[in-house]
Symmetry: C2
Subunit: 413 residues, 2 copies
């Protein structure tokens, strides 16, 4: 049987029916609905003669043995955020199923081919994204911190994992899965507006942005809104407001591909009759170039200190999280470009703003590349997330072509 991209669409609809509701996808990792999705996925691959296993971090693997032990991996994640979209994560694994079917039915491939459904890419329940892929990549350095992590109902992360037969203390044993991996391929919706604005169905991802994520606390003085003259105020909100606006200038001066976001400001006491005493501000900065990312951070820090002086308030920075930019494999980028051009005529290379499991695999030294398919209105993490059917079908074809080219390349090495 040749590749049937329309079957991928049908199966995605089936998954949506099974694990979504009127508010969107509900496949949050470490929940019953997620297990239902995983079981459904297992059923789709039954009867193809694959070796199926679940590793110590909860990742699902299917292996088609080839003439060489060197393996080409195709990956994605079936978990979603609460009230999520039907494609983010699921497209990757369901398209991977179709590609694996096509390869399996043609007989023993030149290299081993494996499909992986990573556990908890989104981190929606415990705020720790890329769980399974970071365990497999050996980059999960925060196990001690994760032992204390609780969900919104106070359930500890290790207890929730145990309910799904995952022992946090053994999660790093998943590292053995990447031994012998020669390439990693991942398809994903873009989750941004770039391809749509260029009227292109598909793109090739150069890598994932480095991220600097900080909490900034501005400290002024609460004072009565009626009785405190303007020139006697120490208004914490003024510092946060100036920085929120300055960020746009910082991104602009850095040039194309730079993004800076202030996603929240929490004011205290936060009442109509008081000057703001403390403002807790969130900052997220991203760039594909490590040097430019460092410059953006330094500029924001300098600006914040200037604003603190101007407003006679205090400012303190705390790093929440950071990751360096991760550049995908040049050879695989070339192959992916070729695959996209063959199915869509035109290709476009672009960076990924969001992180993906592919970044963890790439950090582990496995040659990696991703394909992006256009997102309508750039929306994701909402039930409004969507992609045109013809673009979804093209994306399955492109992943298939890329898999073929990669197997040939690995086999020839």
């Amino acid at each position: 049987m040749p590749l049937q991209p329309s079957r991928t669409i049908d199966e995605l609809h089936e998954l949506r029916e099974l694990t979504g509701d009127e508010n969107g996808a509900q496949r949050v990792a470490w929940t019953h609905t997620w297990e239902r999705a995983r079981k459904w996925l297992r059923g789709k691959l039954d009867g193809l003669g694959l070796e199926a296993e679940i590793d110590e971090a909860g990742n699902q693997w299917w292996t088609l043995r080839g003439r060489s032990d060197r393996a080409v991996l195709i990956g994605g994640h079936i978990d979603s955020v609460p009230n999520g979209g039907w494609l983010d994560g699921a497209l990757n694994v369901v398209a991977g199923v179709e590609v694996l079917r096509r390869i399996a039915e043609e007989g023993e491939p030149a290299t081993t081919v494996r499909l992986v459904n990573w556990a908890d890419e989104e981190g929606a329940r415990f705020g720790r994204s890329l769980f399974g892929s970071s365990a497999a990549a050996g980059s999960m350095a925060d196990q001690d911190e994760l032992r204390e992590r609780k969900d919104a109902n106070g359930v500890l992360l290790p207890d929730a994992l145990r309910d799904h037969d995952v022992d946090l203390d053994r999660a790093l044993d998943a590292r053995r899965q990447l031994e012998g991996a020669a390439a990693y391929l991942e398809l994903h919706i873009e989750q941004g507006p770039v391809l749509e604005s260029m009227d292109l169905p598909l793109g090739v991802v150069l890598g994932t942005f480095g991220v600097e994520r900080h909490g900034i606390t501005w400290t002024g003085q609460a004072a009565h809104a009626g009785s405190t003259p303007m020139d006697k105020r120490r208004d914490a909100l003024a510092g946060a407001a100036k920085l929120a606006l300055e960020l746009r200038g910082i991104a602009k001066r850095t040039g194309e591909g730079a993004v800076c976001t202030s996603g929240n400001v929490v004011c205290r006491p936060g009442i109509v009759t008081s000057v703001v005493e403390t403002a807790e501000q969130l900052l997220d900065q991203r760039h594909l170039d490590a040097g430019k990312l460092a410059s953006m951070l330094a500029e924001a820090k300098e600006a914040s200190e200037r604003f603190a002086r101007e407003e006679n308030v205090g400012v303190a920075w705390k790093r929440i999280w950071a990751i360096e930019p991760i550049l995908f494999d040049d050879d695989l980028i070339e192959l992916a470009d070729g695959a996209v051009r063959e199915v869509a005529g035109t290709s476009r290379r672009l960076p990924s703003g969001p992180l993906h499991d592919a970044a963890e695999v790439s950090r582990a030294g496995i040659p990696t590349v991703m394909l992006f398919v256009q997102s309508l209105r750039g929306l994701s993490h909402t039930k409004l997330e969507d992609t045109r059917t013809e673009h979804l079908e093209l994306s399955v074809q492109a992943l298939d072509r890329l898999a073929t080219k990669t197997i040939e390349r690995v086999a020839a090495d």
Copy 2:
């Protein structure tokens, strides 16, 4: 017995012990601690031969009959915010007790003299300040809305009032209390830094600022912080930040005595990985001049519409509350100036930024004036609120002199 201002200080300490804790005063209206304070106050006036009553709005009254039925009123409020200061409100009533004692012990005064402890000036539990005084003034126009009002634990306002023998439906019957009132006097801490910055213990209040209080909703579009280019964003926080900063210019251009405050911004979804979709901003603007207040509001609205266009976001205004400026009585201001000069050498006239029960009484057409005593660091609504002992004693003396002068003036009319 002559006036003993030091007794007022002792009694304020006693009240603090009885109704405060390590976090400050806890005399929130419609609570047990507030009732304890009211009972304590009643005890202080026992044995002076006064008529005591509680009106339909929960206000406590003590009446010393004079040769004329025309009454000079002295008022304050014993309720506080949670974790409040020891002086805001309580100073007024406890100093009033001392003045009433002095007058009562001198025999029948020329006019009737009454002390009132207004119920729920702060509105701390239900968010509705000036409860008792607005009922007595006949300006409580929001009874229907109050019937639905709940505290943080979901208790309905009418139910909480009933626990203190107040029937919301009858609260406006308290209006009869102001019949025959010829003057209203109120002493209060300044709650601002003006007198301290001029090194003056006492001031005379010209009136209370008019207030315009609005909720402003900025509406943009949630979008992924990593994948949404800067020029494709519709960031609601940008609108709120621009307005928060613009407010200072509006106040400055309006001139001395203008204050504008943005006390809160609530961002949604409020997460580090998303552009802010909605920002709910609070605005409070005050001025003693109605025309200037209206101009400040118009300027802020115009600016917000300009910012909404610049940022491609929506903006909607909703008035939360407003009150016109209230100017106190010219003759009483003169008398108060004289009283302050007699006890402190120098007087200073200044507006009040915060509202006070005196504003409600003045709105009801009763000639009204207030005295301010210096606040250290301008702090109030915190346990850090304080005033020097010698200034507190001067304030009791000034209130006493003002009461004497006012009784003489009313008797002579």
